[in-house]
Protein backbone atom coordinates (compact mmCIF):
# COMPACT_ATOMS: atom_id res chain seq x y z
CA UNK A 1 0.00 0.00 0.00
CA UNK A 2 1.31 3.45 -0.82
CA UNK A 3 1.67 5.38 2.44
CA UNK A 4 2.95 8.64 3.89
CA UNK A 5 6.07 9.16 5.98
CA UNK A 6 5.44 11.78 8.65
CA UNK A 7 7.68 10.65 11.52
CA UNK A 8 10.12 7.84 12.33
CA UNK A 9 8.74 7.57 15.87
CA UNK A 10 6.41 4.70 15.02
CA UNK A 11 8.69 2.77 12.63
CA UNK A 12 9.60 -0.72 13.84
CA UNK A 13 13.18 -1.92 14.09
CA UNK A 14 12.58 -4.28 11.15
CA UNK A 15 11.20 -1.45 9.05
CA UNK A 16 14.15 0.82 9.81
CA UNK A 17 16.66 -1.94 8.98
CA UNK A 18 14.90 -2.82 5.74
CA UNK A 19 14.89 0.83 4.64
CA UNK A 20 18.61 1.03 5.42
CA UNK A 21 19.22 -2.14 3.37
CA UNK A 22 17.40 -0.56 0.44
CA UNK A 23 19.44 2.62 0.83
CA UNK A 24 22.60 0.50 0.59
CA UNK A 25 21.29 -0.97 -2.69
CA UNK A 26 20.85 2.55 -4.03
CA UNK A 27 24.34 3.48 -2.92
CA UNK A 28 25.67 0.56 -4.98
CA UNK A 29 23.47 1.54 -7.91
CA UNK A 30 21.96 5.05 -7.60
CA UNK A 31 20.59 5.30 -11.14
CA UNK A 32 17.62 3.03 -11.66
CA UNK A 33 14.49 3.67 -13.70
CA UNK A 34 12.10 2.74 -10.88
CA UNK A 35 10.10 5.97 -11.01
CA UNK A 36 9.65 6.10 -14.76
CA UNK A 37 6.23 7.53 -15.53
CA UNK A 38 5.88 8.99 -12.03
CA UNK A 39 5.60 12.65 -11.11
CA UNK A 40 6.80 13.78 -7.68
CA UNK A 41 5.89 17.23 -6.32
CA UNK A 42 8.33 19.01 -4.01
CA UNK A 43 6.35 21.64 -2.10
CA UNK A 44 8.73 23.75 -0.08
CA UNK A 45 6.59 26.28 1.78
CA UNK A 46 9.80 27.23 3.55
CA UNK A 47 13.09 27.33 1.65
CA UNK A 48 15.55 24.52 2.29
CA UNK A 49 17.82 24.20 -0.68
CA UNK A 50 19.87 21.35 0.72
CA UNK A 51 16.91 19.08 1.43
CA UNK A 52 15.06 19.99 -1.74
CA UNK A 53 18.06 19.28 -3.98
CA UNK A 54 18.59 15.95 -2.29
CA UNK A 55 14.98 14.87 -2.84
CA UNK A 56 14.89 16.17 -6.40
CA UNK A 57 18.15 14.43 -7.22
CA UNK A 58 16.73 11.21 -5.80
CA UNK A 59 13.69 11.49 -8.08
CA UNK A 60 15.81 12.33 -11.10
CA UNK A 61 18.18 9.42 -10.51
CA UNK A 62 15.15 7.14 -10.38
CA UNK A 63 13.94 8.55 -13.73
CA UNK A 64 10.89 10.30 -12.27
CA UNK A 65 9.78 13.85 -13.03
CA UNK A 66 9.66 16.71 -10.54
CA UNK A 67 7.19 19.58 -10.22
CA UNK A 68 6.90 22.01 -7.33
CA UNK A 69 8.09 25.23 -5.76
CA UNK A 70 10.98 26.19 -3.53
CA UNK A 71 9.40 29.14 -1.76
CA UNK A 72 5.74 29.76 -0.93
CA UNK A 73 6.04 33.49 -1.67
CA UNK A 74 5.13 32.99 -5.34
CA UNK A 75 2.23 30.59 -4.75
CA UNK A 76 -1.43 30.87 -3.83
CA UNK A 77 -0.44 30.39 -0.19
CA UNK A 78 0.57 34.06 -0.23
CA UNK A 79 -2.98 34.83 -1.42
CA UNK A 80 -4.40 33.02 1.58
CA UNK A 81 -5.03 29.56 0.13
CA UNK A 82 -5.26 26.88 2.79
CA UNK A 83 -2.73 24.08 2.96
CA UNK A 84 -5.53 21.61 2.32
CA UNK A 85 -6.50 23.32 -0.94
CA UNK A 86 -2.89 23.41 -2.12
CA UNK A 87 -2.46 19.71 -1.34
CA UNK A 88 -5.74 18.78 -3.07
CA UNK A 89 -4.75 20.73 -6.16
CA UNK A 90 -1.22 19.30 -6.40
CA UNK A 91 -2.43 15.75 -5.75
CA UNK A 92 -4.31 16.02 -9.05
CA UNK A 93 -0.94 16.16 -10.78
CA UNK A 94 1.56 14.21 -8.70
CA UNK A 95 1.90 10.62 -7.47
CA UNK A 96 3.79 11.65 -4.34
CA UNK A 97 4.24 14.94 -2.48
CA UNK A 98 7.45 15.84 -0.65
CA UNK A 99 6.61 18.72 1.63
CA UNK A 100 8.52 21.12 3.83
CA UNK A 101 6.49 23.52 5.95
CA UNK A 102 7.28 26.05 8.67
CA UNK A 103 4.26 25.00 10.78
CA UNK A 104 4.44 22.03 13.14
CA UNK A 105 2.05 19.20 12.32
CA UNK A 106 1.61 20.40 8.72
CA UNK A 107 2.81 17.07 7.31
CA UNK A 108 0.52 15.02 9.55
CA UNK A 109 -2.45 17.13 8.48
CA UNK A 110 -1.47 16.98 4.80
CA UNK A 111 -1.19 13.18 5.03
CA UNK A 112 -4.75 13.05 6.39
CA UNK A 113 -6.31 15.14 3.62
CA UNK A 114 -4.14 14.04 0.67
CA UNK A 115 -5.18 11.24 -1.68
CA UNK A 116 -1.48 10.66 -2.55
CA UNK A 117 1.34 9.84 -0.09
CA UNK A 118 3.17 12.67 1.69
CA UNK A 119 6.83 12.59 2.70
CA UNK A 120 7.59 15.02 5.49
CA UNK A 121 10.74 16.96 4.58
CA UNK A 122 10.55 18.93 7.83
CA UNK A 123 7.59 20.51 9.62
CA UNK A 124 8.85 23.41 11.71
CA UNK A 125 10.63 22.26 14.85
CA UNK A 126 8.73 18.98 14.83
CA UNK A 127 9.93 16.10 12.60
CA UNK A 128 12.35 15.55 9.73
CA UNK A 129 12.37 11.78 9.19
CA UNK A 130 14.63 11.63 6.13
CA UNK A 131 17.35 13.45 8.12
CA UNK A 132 17.05 10.89 10.90
CA UNK A 133 17.20 8.01 8.46
CA UNK A 134 20.34 9.38 6.82
CA UNK A 135 21.89 9.79 10.28
CA UNK A 136 21.10 6.14 11.02
CA UNK A 137 22.46 5.07 7.65
CA UNK A 138 25.70 7.00 8.25
CA UNK A 139 26.11 5.49 11.71
CA UNK A 140 25.47 1.96 10.47
CA UNK A 141 27.74 2.39 7.49
CA UNK A 142 30.69 3.75 9.45
CA UNK A 143 30.37 1.47 12.50
CA UNK A 144 29.18 -1.68 10.74
CA UNK A 145 26.22 -1.89 13.13
CA UNK A 146 23.68 0.20 14.99
CA UNK A 147 23.83 -1.99 18.09
CA UNK A 148 25.40 -0.97 21.39
CA UNK A 149 27.21 2.19 20.26
CA UNK A 150 28.44 5.17 22.27
CA UNK A 151 26.94 8.29 20.75
CA UNK A 152 27.89 11.76 21.86
CA UNK A 153 25.49 14.62 21.07
CA UNK A 154 27.05 18.08 21.31
CA UNK A 155 25.71 21.63 21.22
CA UNK A 156 22.09 22.70 21.17
CA UNK A 157 20.29 19.74 22.66
CA UNK A 158 17.30 21.80 23.77
CA UNK A 159 15.94 22.94 20.43
CA UNK A 160 17.83 20.57 18.12
CA UNK A 161 15.19 18.60 16.29
CA UNK A 162 17.69 16.18 14.75
CA UNK A 163 19.13 15.03 18.08
CA UNK A 164 15.67 14.39 19.55
CA UNK A 165 14.62 12.30 16.57
CA UNK A 166 17.92 10.41 16.65
CA UNK A 167 17.37 9.40 20.27
CA UNK A 168 13.92 8.06 19.40
CA UNK A 169 15.15 6.17 16.36
CA UNK A 170 18.06 4.63 18.30
CA UNK A 171 15.80 3.20 21.01
CA UNK A 172 15.80 -0.17 19.20
CA UNK A 173 19.59 -0.49 19.32
CA UNK A 174 20.74 -0.22 22.98
CA UNK A 175 22.86 2.94 22.57
CA UNK A 176 24.71 4.77 25.31
CA UNK A 177 24.38 8.53 24.91
CA UNK A 178 26.54 11.40 26.12
CA UNK A 179 24.69 14.73 26.13
CA UNK A 180 27.15 17.63 25.98
CA UNK A 181 25.56 21.07 26.23
CA UNK A 182 25.60 24.32 28.21
CA UNK A 183 22.90 24.38 30.92
CA UNK A 184 20.76 26.75 28.82
CA UNK A 185 20.65 24.24 25.97
CA UNK A 186 20.60 21.02 27.96
CA UNK A 187 18.53 18.03 26.85
CA UNK A 188 14.90 18.66 27.85
CA UNK A 189 13.47 16.54 30.64
CA UNK A 190 10.89 14.93 28.33
CA UNK A 191 13.63 13.30 26.23
CA UNK A 192 15.56 12.17 29.29
CA UNK A 193 12.31 10.64 30.52
CA UNK A 194 11.94 8.98 27.12
CA UNK A 195 15.43 7.49 27.53
CA UNK A 196 14.64 6.13 30.98
CA UNK A 197 11.32 4.69 29.84
CA UNK A 198 12.97 2.98 26.87
CA UNK A 199 16.01 1.66 28.73
CA UNK A 200 18.46 4.01 27.01
CA UNK A 201 21.43 4.91 29.21
CA UNK A 202 22.87 8.41 29.11
CA UNK A 203 25.30 10.76 30.82
CA UNK A 204 25.16 14.54 30.85
CA UNK A 205 28.21 16.78 30.54
CA UNK A 206 28.79 20.50 30.34
CA UNK A 207 32.50 20.14 29.49
CA UNK A 208 33.40 19.24 25.91
CA UNK A 209 36.80 17.61 26.43
CA UNK A 210 38.99 14.59 25.73
CA UNK A 211 37.19 12.36 28.22
CA UNK A 212 34.08 12.62 26.05
CA UNK A 213 35.67 12.78 22.61
CA UNK A 214 37.97 9.79 23.15
CA UNK A 215 35.23 7.50 24.44
CA UNK A 216 32.63 7.61 21.75
CA UNK A 217 31.90 5.95 18.42
CA UNK A 218 29.89 8.86 17.00
CA UNK A 219 30.40 12.55 17.70
CA UNK A 220 27.22 14.28 16.57
CA UNK A 221 27.78 18.04 16.47
CA UNK A 222 25.02 20.67 16.25
CA UNK A 223 25.03 24.41 15.92
CA UNK A 224 24.70 26.67 18.97
CA UNK A 225 22.51 29.46 17.62
CA UNK A 226 22.74 32.97 18.99
CA UNK A 227 18.99 33.58 18.74
CA UNK A 228 18.32 30.76 21.21
CA UNK A 229 19.78 32.78 24.09
CA UNK A 230 17.85 35.31 26.13
CA UNK A 231 21.07 36.27 27.88
CA UNK A 232 23.59 37.31 25.24
CA UNK A 233 26.42 37.40 27.78
CA UNK A 234 25.75 33.74 28.34
CA UNK A 235 25.97 33.17 24.59
CA UNK A 236 29.31 34.94 24.43
CA UNK A 237 30.54 32.77 27.27
CA UNK A 238 29.56 29.43 25.72
CA UNK A 239 29.80 30.05 21.98
CA UNK A 240 33.43 28.99 21.78
CA UNK A 241 33.23 26.19 24.32
CA UNK A 242 31.70 23.66 21.93
CA UNK A 243 33.99 24.13 18.95
CA UNK A 244 35.65 21.01 17.63
CA UNK A 245 39.24 21.40 16.36
CA UNK A 246 41.61 18.94 14.71
CA UNK A 247 43.92 19.12 17.73
CA UNK A 248 41.18 17.50 19.84
CA UNK A 249 41.08 14.39 17.64
CA UNK A 250 44.46 12.81 18.28
CA UNK A 251 43.35 9.99 20.64
CA UNK A 252 39.90 9.02 19.44
CA UNK A 253 38.67 5.50 18.84
CA UNK A 254 39.96 4.40 15.42
CA UNK A 255 36.52 4.15 13.81
CA UNK A 256 35.07 7.28 15.46
CA UNK A 257 33.20 9.54 13.02
CA UNK A 258 31.96 13.11 13.28
CA UNK A 259 28.44 13.81 12.04
CA UNK A 260 26.65 17.14 11.64
CA UNK A 261 23.22 17.82 10.07
CA UNK A 262 24.71 20.88 8.31
CA UNK A 263 24.87 23.77 7.69
CA UNK A 264 27.73 24.25 10.11
CA UNK A 265 28.86 27.69 11.10
CA UNK A 266 31.89 27.59 13.37
CA UNK A 267 31.24 24.63 15.68
CA UNK A 268 33.54 22.46 13.56
CA UNK A 269 36.79 24.23 12.68
CA UNK A 270 37.85 23.95 9.06
CA UNK A 271 40.99 22.01 9.97
CA UNK A 272 38.76 19.09 11.01
CA UNK A 273 37.64 18.58 7.41
CA UNK A 274 40.93 16.92 6.54
CA UNK A 275 40.82 14.53 9.53
CA UNK A 276 39.84 10.90 8.91
CA UNK A 277 37.08 11.25 11.50
CA UNK A 278 35.25 13.93 9.48
CA UNK A 279 32.18 12.38 7.89
CA UNK A 280 29.59 15.18 7.55
CA UNK A 281 29.89 15.66 3.79
CA UNK A 282 29.54 11.92 3.10
CA UNK A 283 26.66 11.98 5.57
CA UNK A 284 24.85 14.52 3.39
CA UNK A 285 25.58 12.39 0.33
CA UNK A 286 24.07 9.38 2.07
CA UNK A 287 20.87 11.41 2.23
CA UNK A 288 20.42 10.85 -1.49
CA UNK A 289 20.42 7.04 -1.17
CA UNK A 290 18.19 7.12 1.86
CA UNK A 291 15.69 9.37 0.08
CA UNK A 292 15.64 7.08 -2.94
CA UNK A 293 14.74 4.26 -0.55
CA UNK A 294 12.07 6.31 1.24
CA UNK A 295 10.41 7.46 -1.98
CA UNK A 296 10.19 3.90 -3.31
CA UNK A 297 8.87 2.66 0.02
CA UNK A 298 6.11 5.30 0.15
CA UNK A 299 5.06 4.42 -3.40
CA UNK A 300 5.28 0.69 -2.62
CA UNK A 301 7.83 0.12 -5.36
CA UNK A 302 10.01 -2.98 -4.89
CA UNK A 303 13.72 -2.16 -4.79
Amino acid sequence: MPHSLVTIANLSKEKILSLLDNAARFEAQPNRRLLEGHVVATLFFEPSTRTRLSFETAVNRLAGRVIGFSDAANTSTSKGETLKDTIMMVSNYADLIVMRHHLEGAARYASEVSPVPIINAGDGANQHPSQTMLDLYSIQKTQGTLEGLDICLVGDLKYGRTVHSLIMAMRHFRPHFHFVAPPELAMPEEYKLYCRQNGISYEEHTEFDASVINNTDILYMTRVQRERFTDLMEYERVKNVYILRASMLTSTRPTMKILHPLPRVNEIANDVDACPQAYYFQQAKNGLFVREALICDCLDIQV
Partner: protein, 144 residues
Protein backbone atom coordinates in the same frame (compact mmCIF):
# COMPACT_ATOMS: atom_id res chain seq x y z
CA UNK B 1 -33.81 22.66 56.54
CA UNK B 2 -30.94 20.52 55.39
CA UNK B 3 -32.87 18.89 52.58
CA UNK B 4 -34.47 22.02 51.21
CA UNK B 5 -33.96 22.30 47.49
CA UNK B 6 -32.09 25.37 46.36
CA UNK B 7 -33.60 25.24 42.89
CA UNK B 8 -36.83 23.76 41.67
CA UNK B 9 -37.03 20.04 40.95
CA UNK B 10 -36.93 18.64 37.45
CA UNK B 11 -39.39 16.14 36.02
CA UNK B 12 -37.23 14.79 33.20
CA UNK B 13 -33.77 15.86 32.15
CA UNK B 14 -30.24 16.23 33.47
CA UNK B 15 -28.86 17.96 36.53
CA UNK B 16 -25.18 18.79 36.29
CA UNK B 17 -23.97 19.11 39.85
CA UNK B 18 -20.77 19.92 41.75
CA UNK B 19 -19.60 22.47 39.22
CA UNK B 20 -17.02 24.90 40.60
CA UNK B 21 -18.90 28.22 40.49
CA UNK B 22 -16.46 29.95 38.20
CA UNK B 23 -16.81 27.23 35.56
CA UNK B 24 -20.60 27.36 35.21
CA UNK B 25 -20.67 29.53 32.13
CA UNK B 26 -17.79 27.68 30.52
CA UNK B 27 -19.85 24.52 30.75
CA UNK B 28 -22.91 26.31 29.37
CA UNK B 29 -20.72 27.25 26.46
CA UNK B 30 -19.14 23.81 25.96
CA UNK B 31 -22.53 22.11 25.88
CA UNK B 32 -24.06 24.80 23.69
CA UNK B 33 -26.86 25.41 26.19
CA UNK B 34 -27.42 28.94 24.85
CA UNK B 35 -29.24 27.27 21.99
CA UNK B 36 -31.24 24.85 24.13
CA UNK B 37 -35.00 25.02 23.42
CA UNK B 38 -36.23 23.52 26.70
CA UNK B 39 -35.96 25.26 30.05
CA UNK B 40 -32.51 25.60 31.58
CA UNK B 41 -31.94 26.62 35.18
CA UNK B 42 -28.51 27.88 36.07
CA UNK B 43 -27.45 28.41 39.66
CA UNK B 44 -24.10 29.42 41.07
CA UNK B 45 -22.51 30.46 44.34
CA UNK B 46 -24.69 27.85 46.04
CA UNK B 47 -23.43 26.39 49.31
CA UNK B 48 -21.59 23.09 48.98
CA UNK B 49 -19.95 21.09 51.74
CA UNK B 50 -17.60 19.51 49.22
CA UNK B 51 -16.29 22.47 47.24
CA UNK B 52 -17.41 25.59 49.13
CA UNK B 53 -19.43 27.35 46.48
CA UNK B 54 -20.80 25.30 43.69
CA UNK B 55 -22.79 25.75 40.56
CA UNK B 56 -25.62 23.65 39.23
CA UNK B 57 -27.23 23.45 35.81
CA UNK B 58 -30.62 21.84 35.23
CA UNK B 59 -31.63 21.09 31.70
CA UNK B 60 -35.15 19.90 31.13
CA UNK B 61 -35.84 17.08 28.69
CA UNK B 62 -32.19 16.75 27.72
CA UNK B 63 -30.01 13.65 28.03
CA UNK B 64 -26.42 14.24 27.02
CA UNK B 65 -24.48 11.83 24.85
CA UNK B 66 -21.21 10.37 26.08
CA UNK B 67 -19.43 12.54 23.54
CA UNK B 68 -21.00 15.67 24.99
CA UNK B 69 -20.16 14.57 28.51
CA UNK B 70 -16.56 13.86 27.58
CA UNK B 71 -16.17 17.49 26.56
CA UNK B 72 -16.59 18.41 30.21
CA UNK B 73 -13.60 16.31 31.20
CA UNK B 74 -11.20 19.02 30.18
CA UNK B 75 -12.64 21.94 32.20
CA UNK B 76 -14.53 20.24 35.00
CA UNK B 77 -13.47 16.62 35.56
CA UNK B 78 -15.29 16.24 38.88
CA UNK B 79 -18.84 17.23 37.94
CA UNK B 80 -21.64 14.71 38.34
CA UNK B 81 -24.56 14.33 35.97
CA UNK B 82 -27.84 13.17 37.47
CA UNK B 83 -30.24 11.70 34.96
CA UNK B 84 -33.79 12.47 36.06
CA UNK B 85 -36.94 10.64 35.00
CA UNK B 86 -40.25 11.26 36.72
CA UNK B 87 -38.58 13.41 39.43
CA UNK B 88 -36.28 10.51 40.35
CA UNK B 89 -32.54 10.23 39.86
CA UNK B 90 -32.30 7.11 37.69
CA UNK B 91 -28.60 7.33 36.96
CA UNK B 92 -25.50 9.23 38.07
CA UNK B 93 -22.79 9.75 35.52
CA UNK B 94 -19.27 10.92 36.21
CA UNK B 95 -17.11 12.51 33.60
CA UNK B 96 -14.44 10.34 31.99
CA UNK B 97 -11.68 11.79 29.85
CA UNK B 98 -11.87 10.17 26.41
CA UNK B 99 -8.79 8.78 24.62
CA UNK B 100 -9.21 11.35 21.85
CA UNK B 101 -10.52 14.90 22.06
CA UNK B 102 -11.73 16.44 18.84
CA UNK B 103 -12.42 20.15 18.60
CA UNK B 104 -12.55 20.67 22.36
CA UNK B 105 -9.14 21.96 23.43
CA UNK B 106 -7.19 24.70 21.72
CA UNK B 107 -3.52 23.98 21.01
CA UNK B 108 -1.33 26.50 22.87
CA UNK B 109 1.40 26.30 20.21
CA UNK B 110 0.96 29.26 17.83
CA UNK B 111 3.16 27.47 15.27
CA UNK B 112 0.91 24.41 15.21
CA UNK B 113 -0.88 23.79 11.93
CA UNK B 114 -4.22 23.51 13.78
CA UNK B 115 -4.01 27.18 14.74
CA UNK B 116 -3.35 28.20 11.15
CA UNK B 117 -5.80 26.17 9.09
CA UNK B 118 -9.59 25.98 9.26
CA UNK B 119 -9.58 22.56 10.96
CA UNK B 120 -10.69 21.05 14.27
CA UNK B 121 -8.08 20.44 16.95
CA UNK B 122 -7.23 16.85 17.87
CA UNK B 123 -5.61 15.73 21.11
CA UNK B 124 -4.69 12.34 22.54
CA UNK B 125 -4.94 11.73 26.28
CA UNK B 126 -1.41 10.74 27.34
CA UNK B 127 -2.07 10.54 31.07
CA UNK B 128 -5.69 10.85 32.23
CA UNK B 129 -4.76 10.98 35.93
CA UNK B 130 -2.23 13.78 35.47
CA UNK B 131 -4.49 15.33 32.81
CA UNK B 132 -1.81 15.50 30.13
CA UNK B 133 -2.87 15.76 26.49
CA UNK B 134 -0.72 15.59 23.36
CA UNK B 135 -1.53 17.47 20.19
CA UNK B 136 -2.03 15.03 17.32
CA UNK B 137 -0.38 17.50 14.95
CA UNK B 138 2.52 19.36 16.56
CA UNK B 139 3.05 16.60 19.19
CA UNK B 140 3.41 19.15 22.00
CA UNK B 141 2.09 18.11 25.38
CA UNK B 142 -0.48 20.15 27.24
CA UNK B 143 -1.51 20.03 30.88
CA UNK B 144 -5.21 20.80 31.40
Amino acid sequence: MKDKLQVAALENGTVIDHIPSKLVFKIVDLLGLQNQESSVTIGYNLQSKKIGKKGIIKVADKFFTDEEISRLSVVAPNVVLNIIRGYEVVEKKTVVMPDELHGIVRCPNPKCICNNEPMPTFFHAVDKEARILKCHYCEKELHV
